[in-house]
């Protein structure tokens, strides 16, 4: 896969670029970069420290958007898998894998920022907080989904196996989330510092800008990753066409011109009446 010595060194006659970018991604990317800068300024400079949490509240401007995008990735994977099962078009499969991979990325970030926040707050990197725990499980679910996709021998463009696993992903997330929530709420009354301080004014702006920056970044990454999956499908499709030609040539080495479609005149036996 990594070897660029493709059999067809693609011809570039203007038009389609040799990468996954486009005008849309460039606009999106610039917007994302600008918002990220604004986000950093609001989050780290312009907004005040929280009365209780101090400057640590600034981690929430990262943590909350990133966590929401984790759920967005999982939800999108399930949606795309359901659509693939209905329509069976390869685009939905590309969307499912792109969203799942982004889900894993943002899941790692959620766990990282969560435990970095937890260290000074709870004096430990890990605590059996309901959200932290269910996020960890969700991360494992996503990793399992990608692991199955990796070993799935089905041709590109989607498989029933991957789609059903994707379909079950978000329902599982919901069940796991609520049961873990319920489990922890037994022991942990709401008096303990939790991840929801009162946020208003510039702090709210910082969080909102963070959400926007996260959403734009997510969209940009999703578009690129989707196109990458699409390219992978196309490569495999072309390999298949070549393999079919090879296979036919193996049949009749003499007149092995794959382009001229099958000249095999199978006898028209027993016409239907």
């Amino acid at each position: 896969m990594s070897d660029p010595t493709g059999d067809t060194p693609a011809v570039t006659v203007g038009g389609a670029p040799l990468h996954t970018g486009s005008r849309a991604t460039r606009v999106l990317g610039l917007a994302a970069l600008a918002t990220i800068a604004l986000w950093a300024l609001y989050g780290l400079v312009w907004s005040p420290a929280d009365r209780e949490m101090g400057d640590l509240v600034r981690l929430l401007y990262v943590h909350v958007p990133v966590a929401i995008l984790l759920y967005a990735g999982a939800g999108l994977t399930t949606f795309a898998s359901a659509m693939w099962l209905r329509r069976r078009t390869p685009g939905w499969d590309a969307l499912a894998v792109a969203a799942a991979e982004l889900g894993v990325l943002f899941g790692v970030l959620t766990l990282l920022t969560g435990s970095i926040w937890g260290k000074p707050t709870w004096n430990t990197f890990w605590t059996w907080d309901a959200r932290l725990t269910s996020t960890a499980l969700l991360e494992v679910l996503l990793i399992g989904y990608l692991a199955v996709r990796r070993v799935d021998p089905s041709p590109a463009g989607g498989s029933v196996r991957a789609s059903i696993l994707g379909l079950l992903l978000f329902p599982n997330v919901i069940i796991v989330h609520y049961s873990v929530d319920w489990w922890r709420s037994l022991h942990q009354p709401a008096t303990v510092t939790r991840l929801d301080p009162t946020i208003e004014g510039d702090m709210l702006v910082a969080l909102m800008v963070g959400m926007l920056a996260g959403a734009l970044t997510f969209a940009w990454l999703l578009l690129h990753r989707f196109r990458l999956a699409w390219l992978e499908q196309q490569v495999e499709r072309h390999d298949l066409v070549a393999a079919v030609a090879d296979r036919r040539a193996e049949g009749d080495p003499g007149a092995g011109t794959p382009a001229s479609s099958n000249p095999t005149p199978t006898e028209p036996e027993a016409q239907p009446a």
């Binding site: 393999a243 079919v244 036919r248 040539a249 049949g251 479609s261 095999t264 006898e267 027993a270 239907p272």
Partner: protein
């Protein structure tokens, strides 16, 4: 006369390998057709594609009037496949295997008993666990499972392999009997002499395609088919 198998430029994948690379094949009802070709030519895949077990990704593939490309389930229950791997449970006895597969396909108890008898499995072998059988005996058991179901299309992948002389004759007789009851048989074999004389038609397969058949084939399809088939589709 109805076409039981109608393939046009069908491409079927084995994983990501195009085992069938645009094959054309027509088989009329009541024929016994031998698929011949070197190993890896695509015979097994063709037989499995006829049963809707292999995804056909391009071309036309119709079996028993159903489109197996889009609705592979439509032919299930009407075709019977004897594959390389026998599809039997090693821990169950011969009779239990035949009973399970027979009942799954809603076969009569009488048909199951008859199948066991016809294949010589109603004696001592009846209550032997399949895991303890020889290769030939396993194939006979699989054949009994298939026979009990009375499929309309028989797909036999090297039915003679691993069998002794008597059992091979038995297999041939079963094919004739099936055709006599209105079924159609597609099979492959390495016993070329035996198989060629058994078949109404020989289809040469190489590299995932069927070679054009020579015109003066001894038992060419259109003419003899009507006279051969006794139309008593039950």
């Amino acid at each position: 006369m109805e076409l039981v198998v109608h393939f046009r430029a069908a491409v079927a994948l084995l994983g990501r390998f195009p085992a069938l690379a645009g094959i054309d094949l027509d088989v009329a009802q009541g024929q016994i057709v031998l698929l011949r070709g070197p190993n890896g030519a695509g015979k097994t895949t063709l037989l499995r594609a006829c049963a809707g077990l292999v995804p056909v990704v391009d071309g036309v593939a119709e079996v028993l009037g159903a489109d197996v490309r889009r609705q592979p389930r439509a032919v299930r229950g009407r075709v019977g496949l004897l594959g390389h791997s026998t599809g039997l449970y090693d821990d169950l006895t011969v009779a239990e295997n035949v009973r399970f597969w027979g009942r799954a396909a809603r076969a009569d108890a009488a048909d199951m008993a008859a199948a066991l008898r016809l294949l010589g499995l109603d004696g001592r072998l009846r209550d032997v666990a399949v895991g303890g059988l020889s290769a030939g005996q396993r194939r006979r058991t699989s054949l009994a499972c298939l026979l009990a179901r009375r499929p309309q299309l028989w797909l036999l992948d090297e039915p003679h392999a691993g069998m002794d002389a008597a059992a091979r004759d038995q297999v041939d007789a079963l094919m004739h009997q099936a055709v006599g009851q209105g079924a159609t048989v597609l099979f492959s074999s390495h016993e070329l002499d035996r198989a060629t004389s058994l078949a109404d038609r020989v289809v040469e397969i190489t590299g995932g395609v069927a070679l054009p058949e020579p015109a003066p084939a001894p038992a060419s399809a259109p003419a003899p088919a009507p006279e051969k088939v006794v139309v008593d589709v039950a």
